[in-house]
Structures are given as structure tokens and as C-alpha cells.
């Protein structure tokens, strides 16, 4: 896949990143290289290999449905940049 400035701009927008015009060329090239590297893997014949989301075979890591103590409210919001009335506070969301 050929990476152009269009792709970089699209990904940046999805990730809410502001990309300076001056960075564009370098980022496009970097991203192109990364994708090209990943494409290299596609050259392998994986016909006989099952798709895997993980590289180690561990399954069913589960926990029992037992209540554990939660944190105190003040500890949960202790590091919040903005807080109000025991809540995290964010700029007003208008739908």
C-alpha cells in the first residue's frame, strides 16, 4: 500500500493529532517505511498456519465473579486535571 499525505492526514485526524506542514514529508516517508516493513510479512506462505492474535498460546484467562473493594472516590479523581462534585470534569459535550 502506497502511503501518501492523504493517509497521514486521515490517521492524524482520527487520532486527534495536529501535524505541522513541515513534518508532513517526513511522517509520510516514515509511515510508508513501516507499512512496507509490515507488507514484507505478507510474502510468507501462511497457508497452513492458523490465524493468531497472540504469539503465546494461553487461553481462558478468567476471574471469578467476586466483588473486590473499589477505590475511594477522592483517590480515583486525585489526579484529574479538572474535577467537580466528585466527578471528572470535561468541557461541555454538546451532541
Amino acid at each position: 500500500m502506497k502511503i501518501t499525505e492523504k493517509e497521514v492526514d486521515y490517521v492524524a485526524r482520527l487520532a486527534r493529532l495536529h501535524v505541522q506542514e513541515s513534518q508532513m514529508q517526513r511522517l509520510t516517508q516514515d509511515m510508508g517505511n513501516i507499512i512496507a516493513f509490515a507488507d514484507k510479512l505478507g510474502e510468507l506462505d501462511t497457508e497452513q498456519v492458523e490465524p493468531a492474535a497472540h504469539s503465546i498460546v494461553v487461553e481462558n484467562v478468567l476471574r471469578a465473579d467476586e466483588v473486590q473493594p473499589s477505590y475511594a472516590r477522592e483517590d480515583i479523581i486525585a489526579n484529574a486535571p479538572h474535577k467537580q462534585a466528585g466527578c471528572f470534569s470535561v468541557p461541555k459535550i454538546v451532541e
Binding site: L14, R16, A53, H54, V58, E59, N60, V61, L62, R63, A64, D65, E66, V67, Q68, P69, S70, Y71, R73, I76, I77, H82, Q84, A85, G86, C87, F88, S89, V90, P91, K92, I93, E95
Partner: protein
Amino acid sequence: MSEYEAVIGIEMHAELSTKTKIYCGCKNEFGGEINTHCCPVCTGMPGTLPVLNEKVVEYAVKAGCALNCSIANLSKQDRKNYFYPDLPKAYQISQFDIPLCADGYVDIPLESGTKRIGITRIHIEEDAGKLLHDASDTDSLVDFNRCGVPLIEIVSEPDLRSSEEARVYLETLRSILQYIDVSDCKMQEGSIRCDVNVSIRPKGQKEFGVRSEMKNVNSFRGAIRGIEYEIARQTALLEAGGQVVQETRRWDDAKGESVSMRSKEEAQDYRYFPEPDLMPIRIEKETVEKIRQELPELPHVKRARYVSELGLPEYDAGILTEYRPTAEFFEAAVAAGASAKGASNWIMGDISRILKEKDILIDDVPFSPQQLAEMVQLIESGAISNSAGKKVLETLFESPKAPKQIVEELGLAQISDEGALQKMVQDVLEQNPQSIEDYKAGKDRAIKFMMGQVMKLSKGKANPQTVNALLKEELDKR
């Protein structure tokens, strides 16, 4: 003008009634103090790791079995990436390409008969937090108690053709989820929410029209009204020569209209990828079989049995089986000796009326099914009248004790003794010669009047059927 047909698909999100959240041990409980059911995992603190709650898998598989799905032998979880302040990690852990359950169906009872609605898939995911908008003009506050509450999303095939079918579908699903005890389905607490996809097409056309999606409808009534609104809106658009655009709309229940949120041209790109922090879920066939075996009798099976075994009308069977505790109350009353029709009439009639007045559920009825059975038997044996039964019932709601004792205390015993009634009938006839003439002249109202007089004389305790028979007998003699 061509006639249009609607094509509707529904995604229903149901909160699972596990004790804890999906990836941490915080309480899954509605109504706690703001931000008190939270920990670093469910508030998305850096460096924390989720661990899947085993009950979430079990409940989802249970739902899958009840909805005739095939259960994936190997399944995984994925990240769905988007930014919103109620989602602290900026991704929701969900399932993308390998849901736990797929390819099922549910049969829904319509007036025209049973219709099979396809279930595309059921997957597990985490709920988001709750935004509070009213506290301030400039800020929204975030409560993360709900963040990480386990959900199943049940996706239907686009098999529904009207708002009525959608209503029955939603009610059937709710009933099943309650029966199998995986969700309390309390709409007022937001336990179920729906996304509704609607398109229309000229009748007879095979291809689907362009659809709109209504997000986050939080009541069945809202869903039904929303669907009706969309069908009307799209029909008007097409008839005016316009086109429906694919878009996401938000249903505004207060205004009774849907408004465009974003058009699909700038389609959401969630950049799903396998969740690296969670390992695959393997479910053995034996486990699925065991869960399937343990499913309770489902509402449609119960319903059919009430008709075939107990001889109840379809209508009664439908109402009694919709909510599992109602069915259980009914069955316990029948087991205790009430006739099926008798128990059914009281539950559907006076009991449900009083429940509504008191705004409580049948779960919280203060008396036992056995006490209802005793009351029904008292009526059916003629010991008390139907109207005395109503008084017994009201007393049962206030201070539950043995119906026989209530009958005694309130002096409600019915007079069925023919000798005593005969005397009253004679008295009434003697005092009302005009009524006798009216009766002879064919006026039906006359006998009703005399009935009333006898009832009055007996202080409401006379057995009406006996009085009626005696009156007719006496009148015909004269």
C-alpha cells in the same frame, strides 16, 4: 404512488446482571454514589490490565443458546477506538470478527402467526461511563460507575417489517433474557438500549433501500415511535422525489423526532484490532451442552404448554408467561389447587390492577400463591362470592393471612343455603308485585331489579346463581 415496505434491524444492548464488572472486581450495581464503584482498571489508568469475568462468558453463551445460536469454539476480544469523555481508555473492548455467538434465531408471536427473526450475532463488550450535563453550564461531569459494566449486544437480521413486529421482537427478547436470568432488563435503569436501523423499499422489491441508524434509544416505546417516525420521514422523502441518505440519527423522545447526527460519508473508522491485553476465549462443546441443558423452560414453550396442558386461551398464556415471576406465581397457585382459569383470571385482572396502582412488581406481592389458591377455591366451591373474593384480595394485599380467616373476620361467607334464600326471594316478590307484572310482560330489567333486592336483603352474601335460579323458579310458578 407505490406502496412501501419497511426493513428494520435492531441492535439491542443488555447489561448483564453479574455481581462485578467485566474486567475488574468493582460492583456492577445501579444507583451507587457517583464514582464509588471505580478502580484503576475501569477508569482506564495507565498500566492497568483487564481480566475477564467468567460469568460474562457464561451469561453470553446462555443467551446464545436461548436464541439458537452456534457458539464459537474459539473467540477473541478487540479494541474499538474512538474519543469520547465517557470512555476513559479512548477505546471500548468489544468483539469484532469472532463474536461468542452467531447465526441464531428467535420465533416471535404475531397475530398472523409465528415469525422467525434471524439473530446475526451476540458479542460481549464493556459499557461506557455516564455524562452529567446539567450540573454546570460550561462543563460536563463524568461518573464512571457504569464504565466497565458488562453488556451483550444482540444483532438481528433485517427481518422485521413493521414497528409492530419490532415491538414484539423487543418484548420477546426481553422476556427471554429475564427468563434465563442474565439481565434484569430494567429500562428505567438503562439496562437495555437499542440502535435501530430502518430503510424502506417499494413492496415487491428485493434490494434494500438506503438505511438510517437511530442510536441509543432507551425505551421500547421510544424505539417504536422512532421507527414509525423514520418510516414516515423516508416515505415522504421518496414520494417527493428525494433520496434517503445513509446517516446516523438521534431519537429525541421528548420532541418525538429524530435528528441527523453525522452522515456516513465521514463514516466512523473504529480501527478495530485484537485486544492485546486479553487472551482468546475457548469454549468446549461440553460446556455449551451443559449450559443448554440447564436453560429453564423458555416463555414460548411455557406459553404453548399453558394452552395445550392447562387449556388456557392463547391471550392468557401470552400475558402470564411474558414475565417469569408472573408465570412462577401462577404455576405455584395451580400446584396448590387453584383452577388454571381461576388463577389466571385473578392474576391478569384484579392482582395486576392493584400491582399497577401500588406501582410494584409481582415479585413483591405480600401474599403467597398458596393463599391465592385458597381464595380461588373458596370462590369456586361457592363458599364466597366473586365480589367477596375481591375484598379478600384487597385484604391479602394489606395484611396477608389465611383467606378463610379473612372471610370469617369480614363476615363474607356466601349464603348458598336454599332454605334461607328461598325465604328472602319470597319476601322480595311479595314486596314488589309491579316487578312481577313487568317480568311477565317480558321486561328483563325486572328480574335484575329483584336480584338486586335479594342481594341487598342478604347484605351481599347471597350466592347470585342460586338466587337467580330460585327467582326464576318462583316467578314461573306465579
